[in-house]
Every structure is written in structure tokens, then in C-alpha cells.
């Protein structure tokens, strides 16, 4: 608790601190490569034959996903409170790579916890993190995926709290993490707003994002919550809700308290957390950032899911029609667009958060297709 209070204080201070904000903006521009483009996907639009589809290209941010926005922000906060070491959990490896990158940038020691199952799926990212000077520690307990990596990172943090900051990668966990991560990600929505007004002369009709922990979705949605825009969050439907092998917390979960916050949780009748499945490691998680249940229960955001197969086919569709290989996580958001766009009129506008690039997934997809690389 003292560590969370210290962090809360430092974060609120940084929000008002001109030097901090100046440094963050400078790094966003010169290091991360912001603003990321908002791209009109004309061939995909034509192919689906309905609404105009825009992609917010977070895949073009440094390290290939939106995760860097939060990692750089938190590492700056960690520096301000005098921490010499940062740790993080990672599922798909994107947040681990982003944290290792930000740590290298700031000259901090870095250790990343990753489930052994995910290390297998994302071997490329494991090597990237090591190249960046981070220590990658395998987590072989529990389901050996993201939730177990978070457990292990929390254990490390309680042990080394005096020297270490925990760069939690999503809008989850105890306060102030959900708030802080949303704040560092909300640059996505702010840029999108300006860019879509430039491109279309007005706001979009739909915003769509995939939801694992939910940081890329919060980052896109937050700026638009008070606008008259429909928003859709897409969870991982895995092999289908009826199989029990999925990570769709709203479709298959109930309220629980897990890893420091109350939210929807995939759990059994005795309150033990259930194993999850998704083709995408970044969505393979038993709970969801606590602001999402709020947005859902107030009716502000609609949540749905896409199955592994739907995501895989969207992954290939975008690659072929636009020359953009999306992350499997982002492919879940695309799968919803594939269902939605054809039924909309040609003057309606959809913006998807293309939260990451798919290079990390290429080997995994080849394996699924039975192709030996």
C-alpha cells in the first residue's frame, strides 16, 4: 500500500509538472514516432462494401504496438521517484519489449516476467527483450500465461519495492494503475479526433478496439466518451464461448476480485480463476480492466467477441487487401469490422485501433496453418 500511495502521488504530480509533460511530449514525437497516422483503408472498405474504414496505426509506433506509450510514461515516473529498476509482465511480449525499450532509454535495470506457454508462442519477442538488455524470467506456475506473469511480477514488486517500479502494462490492477495507464494511452484518442476531423470533417460513427486488459481500447475511447459515437470492445472468443476455451469475460465471467481490483473475472463456483484460451497471447487473460465493466453496465460501450478462426481470417484479409499485417490481438477488432461494415451505409465511418503489428505472430500463424518455416 505505501508503494501505491507513493506512485499515486508521483503520478498526479507529473500531470501538473511542465518539465515532465514537456519531456514526455518530446519523447512521444522524437522517439515513439507520434502522432501515428490515421489511415483510410480504401481497399478493405471496398472489399467489405459498406462503411468507410480508418485504421489508427499504433502498429507504426516504435516497437510495433501502443504499449510503448504507457511504458515510456511510467518509466519517466519511475525515474522521478528514484527507482533504479523496473519490472513488467508480458503476454504477447509487446509490453515486455516496450518496457525493456523504455528501460534501455532511461538506463534502468529491467526484468520481464513471462509465462512459459507465452515464451513458446512468442519466441521472437523473448529474444528482442534480451537484445534490449532485459532479463526475461520464465513463469512456470499456474496456467503459465499472462495472469501468472502478473502474479510473479507482483511478488517481485512486494519483495523489491524499495528499489523497483512495476510497469503494469494495462488498465488493470490496484489504483492508480488503471487511471495512470489510461492517461498515458489516451494520446491515441486525442490524435484520432484531430485526424478524423481533418480527413472527414467530423467525428466517426464507430470506434472499435480489441480488449485484453483493455488499454488500447481505453486509449482510443476515452477522448470520445462524451461524444455521440458508438463504441465496440472485442474480446477473445477463443474456440467459442460454449467450449469454455476463451477469454470473453463479459460473455462467460462474473464479478470477482483479482490482482488488486474488482472486475469481471473468469472463475469457477469456488472463486478460483479459470484457465483461458486465445490464439492471441495478448488477449489471453482471465479478467479485464475495471473501467470496462463500468462502460458496459452504463451502456456506453458494447462488448462482443471474435473467435480464433475469425481473427485469423481477418489477419489474412488485412494483409492481402492493405499490405498491413496486424497483430492477432488487433485482428479481433478487425473481425468485428468484417461483420459490421457491410451492413452500414457508405457515408458512415469506422475507426479501428490497429493496436499492434503482426510480425511477432507470423511464426505462430504459420504453425497453426501447418507450415514449417
Amino acid at each position: 500500500m505505501p508503494a501505491l500511495k507513493e506512485l499515486e502521488k508521483a503520478f498526479f504530480h507529473s500531470k501538473k509538472d511542465r518539465d515532465f509533460q514537456g519531456k514526455l511530449e518530446h519523447l512521444q514525437k522524437t522517439y515513439i514516432g507520434r502522432p501515428t497516422p490515421l489511415y483510410f483503408a480504401s481497399r478493405l472498405t471496398e472489399h467489405l462494401g459498406g462503411a468507410k474504414i480508418y485504421l489508427k496505426r499504433e502498429d507504426l509506433a516504435h516497437t510495433g504496438a501502443h504499449k510503448i506509450n504507457n511504458a515510456v510514461g511510467q518509466v519517466l515516473v519511475a525515474e522521478n521517484i528514484g527507482k533504479k529498476r523496473v519490472i513488467a509482465e508480458t503476454g504477447a511480449g509487446q509490453h515486455g519489449v516496450a518496457t525493456a525499450t523504455a528501460a534501455a532509454l532511461a538506463g534502468l535495470e529491467c526484468e520481464i516476467y513471462m509465462g512459459s506457454e507465452d515464451m513458446k508462442r512468442q519466441a521472437l519477442n523473448v529474444f528482442r527483450m534480451r537484445l534490449l538488455g532485459a532479463k526475461v524470467t520464465e513463469v512456470a506456475t499456474g496456467s503459465r500465461t499472462l495472469k501468472d506473469a502478473i502474479n510473479e511480477a507482483l511478488r517481485d514488486w512486494t519483495t523489491n519495492v524499495r528499489s523497483t517500479h512495476y510497469v503494469l502494462g494495462t488498465v488493470f490492477g490496484p489504483h492508480p494503475f488503471p487511471l495512470m495507464v489510461r492517461d498515458f494511452q489516451s494520446v491515441i484518442g486525442r490524435e484520432t479526433k484531430r485526424q478524423i476531423i481533418d480527413a472527414e470533417g467530423g467525428l466517426p460513427d464507430y470506434l472499435i478496439a480489441c480488449v485484453g486488459g483493455g488499454s488500447n481500447a481505453m486509449g482510443l475511447f476515452y477522448e470520445f466518451l462524451n461524444e455521440n459515437i458508438k463504441m465496440i470492445g472485442v474480446e477473445a472468443g477463443g474456440r467459442g464461448i460454449e467450449t469454455g476455451e476463451h477469454a470473453a469475460r463479459f460473455a462467460g465471467g462474473s464479478i470477482g476480485v483479482f490482482q488488486g481490483c474488482m472486475s469481471y473475472l473468469l472463475q469457477d463456483d469456488d472463486g478460483n480463476v479459470l484457465g483461458t484460451h486465445s490464439v492471441s497471447a495478448g488477449l489471453d487473460y482471465a479478467s479485464i480492466g475495471p473501467e470496462h465493466p463500468y462502460l458496459r453496465d452504463t451502456g456506453r460501450v458494447r462488448y462482443t467477441y471474435a473467435t480464433d478462426d475469425e481473427a485469423l481470417s481477418a489477419f489474412e484479409l488485412l494483409s492481402r487487401t492493405e499490405g498491413i499485417i496486424p497483430a492477432l490481438e488487433s485482428a479481433h477488432a478487425l473481425a468485428e469490422v468484417v461483420k459490421l461494415a457491410p451492413g452500414l451505409s457508405k457515408d458512415e465511418v469506422i475507426v479501428i485501433n490497429l493496436s499492434g503489428r503482426g510480425d511477432k505472430d507470423v511464426q505462430h500463424v504459420a504453425r497453426i496453418k501447418g507450415i514449417d518455416l
Binding site: 507482483l154 519483495t159 472463486g271 480463476v273
Partner: protein, 259 residues
Amino acid sequence: MISKIEKTFKKLKKEGRKAFIPYIMAGDPSLDKTKEVVLLLEECGADIVELGVPFSDPLADGPTIQRSSERALKNGVTLRKAISHVKDIRQMSQIPIVLMTYFNPVFKYGVENFIKNAKIAGVDGVIIPDLPPDEAEDFIKLSREAALDTIFLLAPTSTEDRIKKIIKVSKGFIYYVSITGITGTTLLLDGSMEVLISKIKRYTDKPVAVGFGVSTPEEASAVARVSDGVIVGSAIVKKLYESPDELKRYILSLREAIK
């Protein structure tokens, strides 16, 4: 009203002794064995037994108890079963029992029902390591009404305000976590524990028991000198799993060391 746990500490104080509080995981290797071990612990002079409830994500626990928890879950042990197991133990033993469980199973069970049924079964106190007192208002209030002790944790990093708060909401005893970190980590006996416990003692005469990281009789003895009780968990769980034949001798050596 004075609780069974408080009575135990009072009696020990009068006799100039310190409490020995062993921890075991309910259902590892089996619930039958757990009952047997509780009786053995009592026979060997334990004052209070801390009974762990397995959970899928034991955040505060190190590898030894994590694995023990996984084994107990595989045996189908749940919070519900742990509670009815206490009822079963109560047929043969009246040793004070403290349940250690994570919060989500309690939340899912229903806080009110949990407290009611735990009390009926004969549980004396509850430790929930991932429930900070800031979020525990209902839990504390309902536990008081049911005369179930609520034991909260203090750590070396706890601030003055935190110490006062934990003292206020703890009943039975205060659980001082000897290290920053998880169960089963190596203990550091550098005199800092003594300083921190005397800091706690400045504000309260409630008993302070120390846990996390105590494994050898020498450590137990050193910790007993500066506190009111010693909790030994991972080392016992490990012994029970790896060499159960040596358990009794090990327990006796701990008992001998805690004076």
C-alpha cells in the same frame, strides 16, 4: 468478549512463553492427512494452527506454498471444503484455528455467509493477505459481530499511519511479515525486526506474531525473543511433502526453540 486466540496469548504471557503457530495447507496431500497433522501439531505443543486454503493465484506465497496450493486444488479442495474440514477437526481438537485464504473465494462464497459458516464450523480467526483494511469495512464489522478474529498484516515498509490502522482493525493478534516479499523467502536477522516490532508495541499491547521466512529452530528462537509468537509455514509444508517421516522431530525442534 475475549476470544480463544486472545486467551491463548494471555495464558502464554502469564507463563512467560511465546506462541508457536505452524501453517499447513488444507488438503495437501489430502484432507485426512491434514486432520492427522493438526492433531500431531497439537500433540507437539503448537498453540494455534494456521490452515491455508488453496487458491489458483496465491499472490503472497512463494514457490513452496504455491505448489502445495496446486496439489490441494488438484485434490478438489475448496474454501467450502476447508470450512467443513474444520468442523470435522473440531470433533477431536479444540486448538485455535486461523484460516488463511485469499479474498476472491470469500467474495464468491459471500462475505456474510463465509463468516457465519466459518464461525459455526469452529474457525477462530481469518487472515486474508490480499484484503487491505481500507477495503475491509464490511468484513471487519461482520466478523466482530460473529466474534471471529480478523488478523491483518504489517510489513517492514508499513508507515506509522498504517501501523496504527492495522492495530485498530486486528483482533486476536497482529501478523508481522518479517520481510518485504513472499512466504518462504530467506529471513534477515539484522536487528531491524526488533526495532519495528518495538515501534508497533508503542501503540498497542495486542500480541504480535512474526511470519514469512522462519524455517530453522535457530531462526524461530531468535524471532521468539523479539515477538509474542512465531509462524512457520513454507518450511513445514516442505517437510510434510518431502520427508513426512521427519515432520514430528522437526516440529518438536521448533517447539523447543520457541520460548
